[in-house]
Each structure stands twice: as C-alpha cells, then as structure tokens.
C-alpha cells in the first residue's frame, strides 16, 4: 500500500494524535481499513470524503465513542501525546475527559438550564464548589462566543435557544471540561449560514488553545476553516496535506476527482 504523503510543514512536529493502522467496523464489516494519520497540535484538521467513507467512524474512534455501539470492533493504535488510548489498561472515561466532542445536531440536555448544561461535565463528576463552577461557566461561555447573549438568562432551559446558540452551548459544555482535543462531527450541517459563519469563526479562534478535528462533507467549509485536510475514501486515507495545497494542487487523482465534483 502506497504511503500517504506527509506535508513538509509538519516535519519535526510532534503530532497531538497519531493513529497506527487503525481499523474499525461493526460485526464482520470493516468501515475503517487501516488508517495512519498524524494530527498536528493547535491546528484545525478537517476530515472529508463522500458518504460512507468512514470519516465519522474515524473521529468516533478517537474518543472511544465508537465502541459504545453494540457490535462495534476496533483494532490498531491511537496515540494521544504518545500514549495509546486503546491500551489494555486505559480508562475510556479518563480518555473522554481529555477529548471533547460536538455533534451534528445540537444536543443540550433538555432538563437542564443553560448554566447547568455548561457545567454538566463538572457537576456530574462530583464538582461542588460553586465558585469554581461559576468561573468555569463564564469562561467556557466566553470561549464559545455565547456569554454576552445568555449571561442574563443562565437559568433558562438549554432548549430555549436558537439552533446556532444551542450548538455554541454544546461547544461551551465541551470546553468546560478543559479538554486538549475537540472533535466536531459536521457541527454546522443543521444550522443556517449566519450561525455557520459564527461557529467557523469560533473554530479558528479555538485552535489557539485546542487541537481541533472536524468532520465535514462540505468542501468549502473545509477549505475555509482547516489548516490541514485529510481525504477519506472507502475506509482509507487517500491524501493528507495542507488545505491550500490539497485544494489547489492535489497529488492524488482520486482527490482531484472528488473535489472537482467529477465523482460518480
């Protein structure tokens, strides 16, 4: 199997996340067929490809969410700062605390207020100190560009916000746990263009403090937001490069055909 080329700008950079021959699937069907990928720290990396290419499965393997589906299977290694999260002795709950996730459809907890939604990751893990919680709530909501819009209605239900605000609430909720990596599974696909633009802007700010991996089927979104882009097809990583290079001058014929729309 030909090696996927490595962008030269990443020479000597220690990857935040590195997968080695990562395979995943359900029952006897492999969806991911051996992925070797190095994800750089403090950058936005987009994972794109046609439906069924395995991009969502890949990202759900990175926070060990994939294995929660009955019948799911995973093989290979995924190294977070050099440590394999699938190690025999690794605690999945501890792994997931270091990695935040934002889902396709905003999913705030419907029975909780905005405030309690944001700090849910802390309170449900035993944190009781009101000062700490208040501080975390404000800090996270500011980080998600939502503080000004909700600071006077923190006790309102999480479900009372608009779609775009709910998604930012979910981002704040993920930030409150102070993860190192944030995974986003098509975070804007349920939102209108204005809300999408706000979140894309937020993503480019967040990368200063976090490593961001975003799944998207929207080529333009990947080209706007991502520093590096990986193109998946039928469970394999076809090409991985700086976004500008991949979109102006892709090295693989398959990539060229996909992004110019000459597929199928």
């Amino acid at each position: 199997m030909a090696e996927v080329s490595k962008p030269s700008s990443l020479n000597g950079v220690q990857p935040k996340f590195e997968t080695k021959d990562l395979k995943a699937g359900f029952g006897s069907t492999w969806v991911l067929k051996g992925i070797d990928m190095k994800i750089p720290p403090n950058r936005v990396t987009a994972v794109m490809g046609p439906s069924g290419c395995g991009k969502t499965t890949f990202v759900r393997c990175l926070n060990r969410l994939h294995e929660l589906t009955p019948g799911a299977v995973v093989e290979g290694e995924a190294l977070l700062d050099g440590e394999d999260i699938y190690d025999r002795n690794a605690d999945p709950v501890a792994v997931r605390r270091r990695i935040g996730m934002v889902f396709q459809k905003p999913n705030p907890f419907p029975t909780m207020s905005i405030y309690h939604n944001v700090v849910a990751g802390l309170t449900l893990n035993g944190e009781r100190d009101k000062k700490k919680l208040d501080h975390a709530a404000e800090h996270s909501l500011r980080g998600a560009y939502l503080w000004d819009e909700v600071k006077d209605k923190l006790t309102n239900s999480g479900a009372s916000l608009s779609g775009g605000q709910q998604q930012r609430l979910c981002i704040a909720r993920a930030l409150a746990v102070e993860p190192e990596v944030i995974l986003m599974d098509e975070p804007c696909s349920a939102l209108d263009p204005t809300a999408t633009a706000k979140i894309e802007e937020l993503i480019t700010q967040l990368k200063k403090d976090y490593t961001i991996i975003i799944v998207t089927h929207n080529l333009q979104q990947a080209s706007r937001v991502a520093d590096y882009t990986g193109f998946f097809y039928l469970g394999k990583l076809v090409e991985f490069d700086e976004t500008a290079t991949l979109f102006e001058n892709p090295k693989e014929e398959l990539t060229e055909r996909y992004i110019t729309g000459k597929f199928g």
Partner: protein
C-alpha cells in the same frame, strides 16, 4: 455527467481558441503589410475585437469563480485563462502597433527588411505553437517555447547595436528597431502563455 460550471468552462475555452486564431491572423497581417508595403486596415478591427474578448473572458472567469467555488485543476484553469487571454490580447495590440509604425514611417521599399521578416517568421512560429499548446494542453510543446524566446532577444539586441553604430538609413533602422521591439514583446507573451499552459497541467509555475 456535466457539472454546473462546465458550461462556463467550455465557453471560456472556445473564446480563448477564437482569440488564438484572431491574434495569429492579426500578427500575420501586420507582417504582411510590412514586407509588402501594403496597408492592412483590418488589423485595427481585429485588435479591438481581441480587447473586447479579453474583457469578456475576464468577466466570465470571475463569474465562474464567484458562483461555483472551483478548486484544483478547474481553479488553475481559470487563473490561466485570464493570463492567456491577456497574452492573446497583447498579440493583437502589438500587431496594431506594427501597422502604426508603417503609417508613421511611410514608404519603406528601399529598406533591407529581410532580417526583420526572418525574425518575424520565428515569432509567428512561437505564436502558432503557443496557440496549439493551449488548444491541446500540450505541456511538451509548451516547454519548447521559452528557449525560442532567446533567439528573438538576440536578434533584437543585434539590431539595436547596429542602429546605435549609425550604419545604414536612419528611417530603415528606426522602423526596424521598433518592429523588432514589438516582436520581442510578442515572443515574451508567447513564453508566458506557454508557462500558463504548463501551470494548468502541473500546478507548478516554471521558474526562469
């Protein structure tokens, strides 16, 4: 299955082919006028047409970029389109300039025009090759064009030296110098067009 932007891309391609044809004929006509001492009034018309086409190509390229967000080879093609159409437009403009030299200087029957005509033929060969390289996206042919530029450059500099040294009829040497200058510029543009053709295919700008 054709994509939405294919219609725009096809239109651009035909316009460029038309410009290639037109500019070739314009330059040929202007050289004819010089070597035969005739007037060729349609060169002006062709030059104007080329200018109009260049503007249309520019506008349509911008429209395709704004509406369809092209990437990869499509995006490179559009960038090259605008550069290449500028090249063909310049061919026509220089052809017009050559006929204007003839208007200014009047009768050049007694001049030795063989040098210029020889250079002109080489230049026309470069024009023909640049047009064909574009039409067929022939990178091999495109790569052979820039070296030919050197020959034209040498010829131009030779002539300038001769003129400086004061040999020969002033009218003849001046008109020859001007026309060679225009031919030299045409050759440069042929090189640029060749580089653009290479860029569409490889995505790499060849370094000089």
């Amino acid at each position: 299955m054709p994509r939405l932007m294919d219609m725009g891309l096809d239109q651009l391609n035909s316009m460029l082919l038309e410009m290639a044809n037109l500019s070739q004929r314009a330059v040929a006509a202007s050289i004819e006028a010089y070597s035969r001492g005739r007037k060729e009034p349609e060169v002006k018309q062709m030059s104007d047409q080329l200018q109009a086409l260049h503007r249309r190509v520019s506008d349509l390229s911008m429209e395709v970029i704004a509406r369809y967000q092209p990437v990869a080879s499509d995006l490179r093609f559009l960038k090259a389109c605008m550069e290449i159409s500028y090249g063909f437009f310049r061919y026509g403009r220089y052809a017009l300039d050559i006929t204007q030299v003839l208007d200014m200087f009047g009768d050049l029957k007694d001049c030795d025009r063989s040098d210029v005509v020889e250079t002109a033929q080489k230049t026309q060969e470069m024009i023909r090759m640049s047009s064909e390289a574009f039409a067929r996206r022939d990178v091999e042919m495109a790569r052979r064009i820039p070296p030919m530029d050197d020959v034209i450059d040498r010829s131009y500099r030779e002539n300038v030296r001769k003129t400086i040294n004061g040999k020969g009829n002033l009218k003849c040497s001046m008109s020859a110098a001007l026309i060679l200058r225009y031919l030299e510029r045409i050759a440069d543009h042929a090189s640029y067009i060749a580089e653009s053709v290479e860029y569409i295919a490889t995505g790499v700008e060849p370094t000089k």
